[in-house]
């Protein structure tokens, strides 16, 4: 499995954990009567906080992933060649991390699917707003569509890496 595939899996997992955390947070708040579904301000603040946490968590996860990846390369090198040459490890890491035209093509293709999903989410939100008359559904729909869209983007990327593009 390539560096890019492993990185994509890490991002998918981060996205799933964040979305699940938000859903859990929302359900618990509603069940405990701390928040009402129609309180737009409360949900807008909660979503902003989760978006902030998401950005922070993604950056942190990528840093941690890179450290773990570098350590694993060094461990494999040490095991296979009995002696860890720092320069060689650095070369292997650089070689694995190369981002080329195929990665960019895959990125573009997966982005377009992610954006399309987000667009459908907006449309679904508008339909919900038109049917129920409550803007909170539009808010949830938008948040969900962007979150699921980004996770879907990861899965599409993985599929393109595996099946080709």
């Amino acid at each position: 499995m390539s560096y890019q595939e492993k990185r994509t899996i890490t991002m998918i997992l981060t996205g799933i954990i964040l979305l699940s955390s938000f859903v859990l947070y929302a359900v618990l708040r509603i069940q405990a009567d701390i928040a009402v579904l129609g309180d737009l301000k409360f949900w807008a603040i909660a979503m902003l906080v989760f978006i902030g946490i998401g950005i922070g968590a993604t950056i942190l996860t990528q840093i941690l992933f890179h450290i773990v990846f570098a350590v694993s390369v060094a461990v494999v090198e040490e095991r296979d060649h009995a002696g860890c040459d720092e320069g060689k490890v650095e070369t292997i890491i650089k070689r694995e991390m190369v981002e080329d035209e195929r990665d960019k093509t895959i990125e573009l293709k997966s982005n377009s699917i992610g954006y399309a999903f987000s667009g459908f989410g907006f449309l679904a939100g508008l339909i919900l707003l038109a049917v129920t008359g409550s803007a909170v559904y539009l808010l949830f729909s938008l948040f969900g569509a962007f979150s699921i869209g980004s996770i879907l983007e990861g899965f599409v990327k993985l599929n393109l890496y595996r099946k080709g593009c």
Binding site: S2, Y3, E96, E99, D100, R102, T105, G164
Partner: protein, 56 residues
């Protein structure tokens, strides 16, 4: 020449070389030239265009 060596010479990842070999990725003309250049042969000796695959 190993896949890793070719990848390094062409400035791409080894996975891209593997994908091209397996027919899972069609390189751009620029990359095709770089790969041919790495082998020191004309591009036509490395890549063949099968027009029937495009339904032409």
């Amino acid at each position: 020449m190993t896949q890793a060596e070719l990848a390094e010479k062409a400035g791409v990842s080894r996975q891209t070389v593997v994908a091209i070999e397996a027919g899972k990725y069609a390189p751009t003309l620029e990359l095709a030239f770089r790969i041919a250049d790495a082998f020191g042969v004309p591009i036509g000796e490395v890549f063949l265009c099968d027009a029937s695959e495009d339904g032409k």
